[in-house]
């Protein structure tokens, strides 16, 4: 239905002030598309036609949808591979850090420890003497420990004596 000029003016005024509804804007587009407008509204008509034509613009490439379908299938495989590589690289990086850290710590310990403790004696005789000395030291400690243990034994003997006596008195 053609719009009368009064309504057209009113709608346009509301349109410029941003008060038109979607339906009214559609009405304006339709009106100007029909080509029934006064000369002074030529540019306004062009604007509404521009909007109308703008909506006709489409993605005309027929290979677009198949390409999308192919792409949404492909990334799964690719994604899995990428994820696998990503995880593997994370583990590899972690291991590398541990190995490098161990290497540095080992170097530091080697530097700080006196060499003579680490090294064995080159001279077999000296080594024998040192071993003998060490064994003697252990043996001496054992001897001391044995003497101490004898003292503890005294308590056992005393306990047995007490038990025997208490049995006798009963």
């Amino acid at each position: 239905m053609p719009m009368d000029s009064k309504r057209l003016q009113q709608l346009l005024a509301r349109y410029w002030s941003g008060d038109t509804t979607l339906e009214e804007e559609a009405e304006l587009r339709e009106h100007f598309q029909a080509g029934d407008f006064p000369d002074e509204l030529k540019e306004t008509a062009a604007l509404f036609r521009y909007f109308n034509e703008g909506k006709k613009k489409s993605l005309s490439d027929i290979s677009f949808e198949p390409a999308v379908i192919e792409k949404i299938h492909k990334p799964n495989k690719q994604g899995r591979l990428v994820a696998l590589l990503y995880n593997a690289s994370k583990i590899a990086a972690g291991l590398l850090v541990v190995i490098v850290a161990t290497w540095f710590i080992r170097n530091e310990i080697r530097k700080s420890t006196p060499q003579e403790i680490v090294d064995t004696y080159d001279d077999p005789k000296l080594a024998f003497e040192e071993t003998k000395k060490a064994l003697m030291m252990i043996s001496k400690s054992f001897g001391t420990a044995q003497a101490q243990a004898k003292k503890i034994n005294m308590f056992n003997e005393a306990q047995e004596e007490i038990q025997r006596k208490s049995k006798d008195s009963l």
């Binding site: 349109y15 410029w16 002030s17 941003g18 979607l22 804007e25 559609a26 080509g35 030529k42 540019e43 306004t44 008509a45 062009a46 604007l47 036609r49 521009y50 909007f51 034509e53 703008g54 909506k55 006709k56 613009k57 489409s58 993605l59 490439d61 677009f64 949808e65 390409a67 999308v68 379908i69 792409k71 949404i72 990334p75």
Partner: protein, 170 residues
């Protein structure tokens, strides 16, 4: 969501997404590329689609964000108008009127392309695509007031420039 409903429900919005991306990028190949990327993202996030109230607006929002990322990555602003103009065919017009209308629309295209980004996108979403204010808020991630202000400024800026061109015959 399975592939079939993706093809039937989501892929048909490709033209809207394409037009919107084109507003940002002004280059059809890049816009097509963006739309493809949007669909891949939508497919990957398809579990979320049941929770989203308006998935079309969600797609449009992804288009906006990806387009902005693309603009940043290619470090150039939208300068090229979308196209030279539209082929206007209307039986009621004489060849002269048709040419005149085509010229007017070409000018309007340039005027809209020269608008600040937000104004250009808001006027496109409202006057070309016919989205409601709420949907535009959702797509643009702006509040209602900002949407209305941007639309008002966009429309009036285009109108003022059209009046100037007519007055001075520029």
């Amino acid at each position: 969501m399975n592939l079939e409903s993706f093809q039937n429900r989501v892929l048909p919005v490709k033209n809207k997404l394409f037009r919107f991306a084109l507003r940002f990028l002004g280059n059809e190949d890049e816009a097509k590329d963006i739309v493809q990327e949007v669909f891949v993202r939508v497919w990957n996030g398809r579990e979320k689609m049941n929770e989203i109230q308006n998935w079309e607006a969600w797609c449009m929002r992804i288009t906006k964000n990806l387009s902005l990322d693309r603009i940043r990555s290619i470090t150039r602003r939208h300068t090229n108008p979308i196209e030279d103009g539209y082929a206007v065919t209307n039986d009621s017009m004489t060849p002269f009127e048709s040419t005149e209308m085509r010229e007017s629309m070409k000018r309007i295209n340039q005027l809209i392309a020269a608008l600040p980004d937000k104004q250009r996108q808001v006027i496109h979403l409202r006057d070309v695509e016919g989205y409601s204010y709420n949907e535009i808020c959702d797509i643009m991630e702006l509040d209602m007031n900002q949407v209305k202000v941007n639309l008002f400024r966009a429309r009036n800026s285009v109108r003022d420039k059209m009046i100037k061109i007519n007055a001075y015959g520029l």
